[in-house]
Each structure stands twice: as structure tokens, then as C-alpha cells.
Symmetry: C2
Subunit: 325 residues, 2 copies
């Protein structure tokens, strides 16, 4: 079976490793020709997945028409910032398109599959999300992930193509719940990184994760998600991973910020950090839905309103409450 993967970063390539290991043909597309040529030559994506050999049936192209020639499935693995621009090229696609990108479009408040639906009206859409680092997936570490689509048949098709013993794919029809869980956790990871840099300890972080999940669930449910989705892989699972693992880019962003680096400098010297734009989009979405999101609000104020770090943390840790919510 032929699968097109749009976006040749770490996650798109790692999913290609899984798909090709399952015997399918991968068409990997990226904007710039030169890195694709190099991948064709070396059968590696060294800048993003150092040391990983790309085995099986791979094709590399910077011509999106080549990638879209008769795929059974299209995976969208481009960052949220450039997502719509690529989605607009999919107007004629009739096969399922699955977003593996975690983010919310700031201007519209749309999730990535909502952007897809508006740009590719002939295609069914879905999302794939869960607690997975690209480098661990590419090394075939055992992981679990969830395929979501309002059309259960689409979710099952994604499962059929990607599932393998070390890459367990579950299915759900709660698409918006899966997308919001995956997106919002990146904002919380920034807060976790701030705490890490200030030496707040792991007990403190566990409390942050617990309160944050309640906040994410509240916002998600207001947007139409099922509450139980947030107890699953794309909610609790992904939030936990992002906040606790040293590997998380979003957590590290917070850590570097707390150590005094400027936002500009961190963005210029790391791969895409989705938590940064998502903080702004999530803050706007929460106001629109009239949901209280104290942790997201503090991260937003810190990143976009120049709020002082110490003031932010004081406001986060001194809120009083009589009951867990």
C-alpha cells in the first residue's frame, strides 16, 4: 500500500519507519529539495533522527504532486504554522488525510483536522496522537498511540496500516478530544520546564500535571470532547510524557526561558516548539469558550505579555482551593 507523508521532520520520518516496516511504500515529501536528495542518497534523516537507517520502500520528493500520486493514505506531519499552506494543496485528495501535528490555528481557533476539512472537502480526516517521541518510535521502542476519526472506519484503516507489536494503535471517534489533548499538553510542558529550572522538584510537577489535566479536560469538554478521552493516551499519557521526560522540547523551552534565554534565541536554536504558538491560541480559545484556565493563562502572560517569571509562579502556586477539581 502507498502512503504519502507530508513533512520530512522527525515525526513524519519516524512514522515512515513504522509504515515501511509494515511492508508499505512511503512517499516522503518536504518543502526543500536538498535535504530530500540527501535522504535519498544516505537513506538517513540525520538532522532529525540521527543514526536511524531508513529501511524498506522509501521515495523522497519535494514535488507534492509526486507524493500525492495514488496514495491510500496521506499523513500530514508539517508544523502547525505552515499547516494550512500545505493543506490548501490537498483540495483534490479523496483518500483519508490524517493529521499527526499537535497545534491550534491562532487566527481561526481551528484544530489541524478542522483546517484539513476546510481545505480538502473531498477527503475524510483523522488524527494520530499519543505519548511518543519520534526518536524512540524510530528505534522501535514499544509505544502506544490512538487513531481518531469521527468515521470509525477511517480510524480502523489507520490502525491497520500502522499497528505493529511495538507500535500499538488504539482507535476512538472522539477526534476533537484527541486533538485538544495533544495540543494543550505542550503549553503545560512549558510550565513544567519553568519549575524544573527553578528546582521545584518532582512532587510539585506531579501536582501541576494533575491540575493541568483538569484544566485541559474542562476546555476540551466545552469544545465538544468526551471527558474520558483526557484519561487516555492522547490526554494523560501524552501530558505525563511531555512534562516528565528530559527529551521533551517543550519542557526544555520552559527550562531555558527560566534560565534567562530570550524566546527569540530559544526558537532560533531548537526544532519546532509547538507549545509556544499554542499558548496564544489556547488562551484565545479559552476566552472564547468562557473556560477558566489558570495555568494556560500564566504561560500566556509570561510568553506574550512580558509578565515577570517570579510573579507568574507566585500566582500559580498561591491560588487557593478547597477541593480538587
Amino acid at each position: 500500500m502507498r502512503v504519502a507523508i507530508l513533512g520530512a521532520g522527525a515525526w513524519g520520518t519516524a512514522l515512515g519507519v513504522i509504515i515501511s516496516a509494515n511492508g508499505h511504500e512511503v512517499f516522503l515529501w518536504g518543502h526543500r529539495a536538498e535535504p530530500l536528495h540527501k535522504m535519498q542518497r544516505t537513506l538517513r534523516n540525520e538532522p532529525y533522527l540521527p543514526g536511524i537507517d531508513l529501511k524498506g520502500n522509501w521515495n523522497f520528493t519535494s514535488e507534492i504532486r509526486d507524493a500525492l500520486e495514488k496514495p491510500e493514505l496521506v499523513l500530514m506531519a508539517v508544523p502547525s504554522k505552515g499547516f494550512r499552506e500545505v493543506a490548501m494543496k490537498l483540495e483534490q485528495v479523496e483518500k483519508p488525510i490524517v493529521s499527526v501535528t499537535k497545534g491550534i490555528e491562532y487566527e481561526s481557533g481551528m484544530t489541524m483536522t478542522q483546517v484539513l476539512e476546510s481545505c480538502a472537502p473531498k477527503a475524510s480526516v483523522g488524527a494520530l496522537s499519543g505519548p511518543t517521541f519520534a526518536i524512540e518510535v524510530a528505534q522501535h521502542f514499544p509505544v502506544a498511540i490512538v487513531a481518531a476519526s469521527r468515521d470509525e472506519a477511517i480510524a480502523r484503516q489507520v490502525q491497520a496500516i500502522l499497528h505493529r507489536p511495538t507500535f500499538r494503535v488504539y482507535t476512538t471517534t472522539d477526534l476533537i478530544g484527541v486533538e485538544l489533548g495533544g495540543s494543550l499538553k505542550n503549553v503545560i510542558a512549558l510550565a513544567a520546564g519553568l519549575g524544573d529550572a527553578l528546582g521545584f522538584g518532582d512532587s510539585s510537577k506531579a501536582a501541576l500535571v494533575t491540575r493541568a489535566l483538569a484544566e485541559i479536560r474542562r476546555l476540551g469538554v466545552a469544545c465538544g470532547a468526551q471527558p474520558e478521552t483526557f484519561a487516555g493516551l492522547s490526554g494523560l499519557g501524552d501530558l505525563t510524557l511531555t512534562c516528565f521526560s528530559p527529551l521533551s522540547r517543550n519542557r526544555r523551552f520552559g527550562e531555558r526561558l527560566a534560565r534567562g534565554e530570550s524566546v527569540e534565541r530559544i526558537l532560533a536554536t531548537s526544532h519546532i516548539v509547538e507549545g509556544y504558538p499554542t499558548a496564544r491560541a489556547a488562551y484565545k480559545l479559552a476566552r472564547k469558550m468562557n473556560v477558566q484556565t489558570p495555568i494556560i493563562d500564566e504561560v500566556y502572560a509570561l510568553l506574550y505579555e512580558g509578565k515577570n517569571l517570579r510573579d507568574s509562579l507566585r500566582d500559580l502556586t498561591t491560588r487557593e482551593s478547597k477541593a480538587e477539581d
Copy 2:
């Protein structure tokens, strides 16, 4: 106000640090006189909380009658193994007794407060549980915890005595939910440690945590707990901390086991590891309640039935499922 703390290990002493910082008088009791004398002399509990000065109004005793002379509140901080033996000395106590111990009695299947109720019929009981390492609490890192009692007034009294800006105490009436969440997570931490030793990666651990919380919730609800309690500090919060933090003793137990050390040797060379006895009690409880607990079952088989580690992990990672549960 006078507070008796029974059990002079890390957690009992750390709670004394919080209580004395709030201006209350602490009576710390332990079995053996010699360590108590040393604490009286040095105002430190060096074996358990190295480097922490015990400031404020402390009394140290190995005579339980001294500790129980007119306290307003009794905290039970002895390991689950010796819990009933100490509880039997509390028959005449009429003030609230709060368990801060995480475990299930194997013979009876009782939680610690159920043991208290059977031994101290005149007292109201409660539990205090959440994601907290003793050493971090003793250093006044910001943490959050939950005080549980079926009698809300008791939970609020505990909150009033212990709450401070860096030690946020929430309240709930779901006593059994708080106790089971706190106890069962220690079993899961052993599994997390096994995975760590085998280099399974953090993505894999996040999936384990997610599936484990569903399993804990199933068993808890069957025992009468509220499902939402497991999304709180004593459920998700504590589970996350125990599985992800390098500081967790239970996680480290699993790690050492996977590296080939014998159970006997690990137990002999570490402080109390509650996950070890709890695995057996939890397995028995799940059978009694007729609840499926695949992760607990594998840990039990590994620890108590001599099951091979590779077989256990194969059985854990190859279970198939079509939906998140």
C-alpha cells in the same frame, strides 16, 4: 495544638516539619529508643532525611503513652506491615487518626483506615495522600496533597493543621478512592522500573501509566470509590510521580530486579518498599472483586510466582485491544 506522629521514618518526620512550621507541637514516636534519643540530641533524622534541621517544638519518644497524651490529631506513619500492631494500641483514642501509609493488609484485604476503624472504634479516621517525596516536603518544595475522610469536618481539620503556602492540602470524602490510588500506584511503579532497566524509553512508560490508571480505577470503583478521584492528586498525580521520578523507591526496586538482584537482597538494602507487599494484596483483592488487572497480575507473577522477566514483559506488551479502556 499538639499532634502525635506515630512512625519516625522519612514521611512521619517530614510531616512533622510541616506541622511544626505551622506552629504546632509535634510528638514523634518510634519503636526503638536509640534513634529517638539521637534525634532529640541532634534535632535531625539523618538516616531518613539527611541535612534537614528539625525546627520548632518537637518531642521525641519511644513510649507511645507519652505521644498519645492529649493530642488533637494522631498521624499513623508506620509501614503497612507493622500497622495493625501499632493500631491495636490506639483502642482508647477519641481524637481523629489519620493514616499517611500507603498499603493494603494482605490477610484481610483492608486499607489502612479500615484497620484503624477495626482497632480504634472511638476515633474518626482519615487518610492523607498525594504526590509527595518526603525529602522534597522537608525542604519546603511546593507540593499539593489531599486529606480524605468520610466525615468532611475531619478532612477540614487535617487541612487546617497542615496547610501552608508550600504544602497545599485539598479535601475529599472519597476515603477508599484516595487510599486505593495511593496504594496501587506502588505496584505499577515496580513495572515502570522494570521497563527503565530494559531501556524501554519514556514513551513506553507513558503508555504504561495510562493503562495502569484505567486498571486502578476499575479496581477502585469495584471497591466503592468515585471514578473521578483517580484523576486527582492521590491517583494520577501520585502514579505519575512514582513512575517517572528517579527518586521513587518502588520504581528503583523494579529497576534493580530487572538488573538481576534478588528480591531478598533489594529488600535488605533499601528503606520500606510498599509496592512489594501491596502487589500480593492487590492481586488477591482484584480476584475477590472479580476485576481484570493485567499489569498488577504480571507484577505479582514476577514477584511471587517466579515468572521469568522476559515472559512477563512479552505478556504485558503483546496484549491486543481495539479501544482504550
